[in-house]
C-alpha cells in the first residue's frame, strides 16, 4: 500500500501527463489552422474569385489567374450531390427513428455506419464503374454521384439522431387527435427536428465538400470554367491537391488559397451547427 503522499504525487503526475498529451495534440492542430489562415488569406485576391486557372504559364507570367471555375464547380457538383441524396438520406433516417421496431433497422444501422467508415475512394471507384465507364468520359455528373454516396450514410444517421431527440409524447399528442402516423411524422416530428436535420444536411455537405479522392476518379478536374455536367469539372479539394503537387511556386500559393476556402467552409458549418444545436437542446 502506497502512502497518501505517494498516491497524491502519482495523481499530480498523471495530471501533468494528461496536460502534456493535450499540448501534443493541440499544438500541431492549431499550427495547421494558423498556417492555413496566414498563407491562405495572403494569397486571396479579386482575381482569385473572378478568373479561371488556365495554363501554368498564366500564373508564371503574372497574368490574371484564379479559381473562379473551381468554386463554381464545387457548388455545382456538391449541390447536385445534395439534391440526389436528400430524399434517400432523410427517408432512411425517418425509417430508423420513426419505426424503431422495424425488422430492417438493426442491420440498416450497422450497414450505414459501415458505409460511413468505408474509404471515400471506394465510393469514387463505384461511381467510376457505374457512370464514367459506361458513358465513356469523366464528368461532373459522376462526381456528384460519388459525393452522394459519401453523403448518404452521414445524412441518414444525422436525420435519425435528430428525430430520435424529439420526445414521443409530442407524437402521441398528435396521434391522439386522430392524425395518421405519416402525417404525424411530416407535421410533428420533422418540424420539431427541423434545426438538427438542417444541421445534419450541412455537415454532410461540408464533409463531402472536403473529399478529394472520389473526385479524382470521377469529375477529374478542369483548368477552365464549364457548366457542362457531362464534361470534367473542377472542385476545390481536387484542385488543391493538383496545385500542391505541381512544380510551380505561383500555384502553391493558390493551393493555400484553396485550403483556406475549404477550411473556412468547414469552420463556418461546424460552428453554425454547434450554435444551432446548443440553443435548441441545452
Amino acid at each position: 500500500m502506497l502512502t497518501l503522499r505517494a498516491r497524491r504525487r502519482r495523481d499530480a503526475m498523471v495530471h501533468a501527463l494528461l496536460i502534456l498529451a493535450v499540448i501534443i495534440v493541440m499544438t500541431p492542430l492549431l499550427a495547421v489552422i494558423s498556417y492555413v489562415l496566414v498563407n491562405g488569406l495572403g494569397s486571396l485576391s479579386l482575381d482569385f474569385f473572378t478568373q479561371d486557372l488556365g495554363s501554368p504559364a498564366r500564373a508564371q507570367q503574372g497574368r490574371p489567374t484564379g479559381l473562379m471555375h473551381t468554386i463554381i464547380g464545387t457548388l455545382v457538383i456538391d449541390g447536385l450531390a445534395l439534391a440526389f441524396v436528400l430524399p434517400f438520406g432523410i427517408g432512411a433516417g425517418v425509417l430508423l427513428a420513426e419505426f424503431p421496431d422495424h425488422p430492417l433497422n438493426p442491420s440498416l444501422r450497422v450497414l450505414t455506419d459501415t458505409l460511413n467508415g468505408m474509404p471515400a475512394i471506394l465510393k469514387g471507384l463505384l461511381a467510376y464503374a457505374l457512370i464514367v465507364q459506361p458513358m465513356g468520359s469523366f464528368s461532373a455528373l459522376s462526381g456528384s454521384v460519388a459525393l452522394a454516396f459519401v453523403m448518404l450514410p452521414i445524412l441518414a444517421r444525422a436525420t435519425e439522431s435528430a428525430l430520435a431527440a424529439v420526445p414521443w409524447s409530442l407524437r402521441e399528442a398528435t396521434l391522439a387527435l386522430g392524425v395518421p402516423r405519416w402525417r404525424v411524422i411530416l407535421s410533428t416530428s420533422m418540424p420539431a427536428a427541423r434545426v438538427p436535420i438542417v444541421t445534419g444536411v450541412l455537415i454532410a455537405f461540408a464533409r463531402a465538400a472536403g473529399e478529394a479522392a472520389p473526385l479524382m476518379l470521377t469529375s477529374f478536374g478542369n483548368n477552365y470554367l464549364t457548366f457542362d455536367l457531362l464534361a470534367p469539372m473542377d472542385t476545390l479539394p481536387q484542385r488543391l491537391y493538383s496545385l500542391a503537387v505541381s512544380p510551380y511556386r505561383e500555384w502553391h500559393a493558390m493551393g493555400w488559397g484553396a485550403a483556406v476556402l475549404l477550411l473556412g467552409l468547414v469552420i463556418i458549418v461546424f460552428v453554425g451547427a454547434r450554435v444551432a444545436t446548443r440553443r435548441r437542446f441545452p
Binding site: R7, D11, V14, H15, L18, V25, L29, L30, V32, Y35, V36, F88, I90, G91, A92, V94, L95, L96, E98, H102, L104, L108, V110, L111, T112, D113, T114, L115, G117, M118, P119, A120, I121, L125, L126, A129, L152, P153, A156, G178, P180, R181, W182, I203, G210, A212, A213, L217, P237, Y241, A244, V245, H252, G255, W256, A259, L262, L263, V266, F270
Partner: protein
C-alpha cells in the same frame, strides 16, 4: 398485492357498433402503409449501395485476382505495369505499417485528451478542447496534406531525418561507441532521407485519427454513472485512482471501439497518403524513404491506367481495401455492443 378498490368492469356499450362502422377516411391505413413502403424503399438504397460496392469492385477487379490467385494477388510483392506483374503486397504492407504506427502514436494522447476533458478540465477549457478536436475530424485531408507538404515535411527533414540519419551514417564521437555496436541493418531500415516518406505520413495520419478515438472514448467516459465515481471518492481515493479503477474499466468498450474505428479510418486515408508518402511501388520500404498505401496507389495510378489489367488490378486493390474496411468496421460495431457495460447480452 391485490387492490382493495373495486374497479367496475368496463362496459362495452356501443363499442362493437362503433368498430363495425367504417372508419373516417383519414383514420384508414393505406396512407400509413404507402408511407412505410416509401420510406423503406428509400432506406433500402443504403443496402443497395453497400451491396453494389462489394459486387462492382469484385466484378471489375476479378481478372487479376483470378490470374494471380486470391492470396497470390494479396501477397504478391511485384507491382510493375510495364511487365504486367501485379500484387498488393507492397501497398498492404504500407497501409498496415502506417496505420498501426499511427494508431500506436495517437492512442494514448487521444484517450488522455478524452480523460482530461471529461474528468479534469474546467468546463470552458473542456468545451474549447472538445470543439477544436471535433473540428479536426472535419478538416479535409487535402488541407492537412498541403500543410504537410510545405511546412511539416521540410521542417522534419532538417530537424529530424537528416540529424538522425547522419548520426548513424557518420557517427559523431559521442555516438560512435553505441552506433558501432549496432548491426549494419539500421541504415537499411532508415533509408536515405527524403521529404515525403513513411514517417511524415504516419505523423500526419496519427494527428488525423485522434478525434475518432477521442470522440468515442469521451462518450464512453461520460456514460459512466456519477454514483460509480462517488462510491470511490467516498473510500478516499485520489482523482487518478477513481479514473483508473472505476471510470476507465467501465468505459473500456467505447475506448477500444474508438481505437478500432480510428484504425478503420487510417487504412482508408487517401489524399494525405498520396501527398506525403512519396509514392513508391518498390519494396523494401524504408522509414525515411518513399512508400505507398492501398488507397494512395489507386488515386495515383488510376488516371494513367490505360491497360485493362492495370486498371482492374487497381480496382482489385480497392476490393481488398473494401474487405479490410468491412471487417474492421463490423468488428468495431460488434465490440462496442459487446463491451459496453449495460447492454451486455442484449
Amino acid at each position: 398485492m391485490r387492490s382493495v378498490i373495486e374497479v367496475p368492469p368496463p362496459t362495452r356499450d356501443g363499442v362493437d357498433e362503433a368498430l363495425a362502422r367504417p372508419m373516417p377516411s383519414r383514420f384508414r391505413r393505406p396512407g400509413d402503409r404507402a408511407f412505410l413502403v416509401l420510406v423503406t424503399g428509400l432506406a433500402l438504397t443504403v443496402v443497395a449501395l453497400a451491396v453494389a460496392m462489394g459486387w462492382v469492385l469484385w466484378a471489375e477487379g476479378r481478372t487479376p485476382i483470378e490470374t494471380f490467385g486470391f492470396l497470390g494477388f494479396l501477397t504478391g510483392t511485384a507491382w510493375n505495369p510495364v511487365t504486367g506483374q501485379f500484387g498488393t503486397g507492397p501497398f498492404l504492407l504500407g497501409t498496415l505499417i502506417t496505420s498501426v504506427a499511427a494508431l500506436a502514436l495517437s492512442f494514448f494522447p487521444a484517450v488522455a485528451l478524452a480523460i482530461y476533458t471529461a474528468e479534469y478540465a474546467p468546463r470552458w477549457l473542456a468545451a474549447f478542447i472538445d470543439g477544436t478536436v471535433d473540428l479536426l475530424a472535419a478538416i479535409p485531408s487535402v488541407v492537412l496534406g498541403i500543410w504537410g507538404i510545405f511546412v511539416l515535411a521540410p521542417w522534419l527533414r532538417d530537424t529530424f531525418y537528416l540529424p538522425v540519419y547522419l548520426t548513424f551514417a557518420r557517427p559523431p564521437e559521442w555516438a560512435a561507441p553505441v552506433v558501432d555496436q549496432l548491426p549494419a541493418g539500421v541504415l537499411a531500415v532508415l533509408g536515405t532521407p527524403q521529404n515525403y516518406n513513411m514517417v511524415t505520413f504516419t505523423l500526419v495520419l496519427a494527428l488525423m485519427v485522434v478525434p475518432f478515438t477521442t470522440a468515442l472514448a469521451r462518450d464512453a467516459l461520460r456514460s459512466v454513472p456519477i454514483e460509480q465515481r462517488e462510491a470511490m471518492w467516498a473510500l478516499g481515493a485520489t482523482r487518478w485512482e477513481v479514473i483508473r479503477r472505476t471510470v476507465v474499466p467501465y468505459a473500456r468498450g467505447g475506448i477500444v471501439a474508438g481505437a478500432i474505428l480510428a484504425f478503420g479510418r487510417a487504412i482508408g486515408e487517401t489524399m494525405a497518403a498520396a501527398m506525403l508518402i512519396g509514392n513508391s511501388n518498390k519494396l523494401p520500404f524504408t522509414l525515411f524513404g518513399p512508400a505507398a498505401t492501398m488507397p494512395s496507389v489507386i488515386v495515383n495510378e488510376f488516371r494513367e491506367a490505360v491497360e485493362n489489367l492495370h486498371y482492374s488490378s487497381l480496382v482489385a486493390v480497392g476490393f481488398y481495401l473494401f474487405l479490410l474496411s468491412l471487417v474492421i468496421n463490423l468488428g468495431a460495431a460488434w465490440l462496442q455492443r459487446r463491451l459496453t457495460v449495460g447492454s451486455r447480452g442484449s
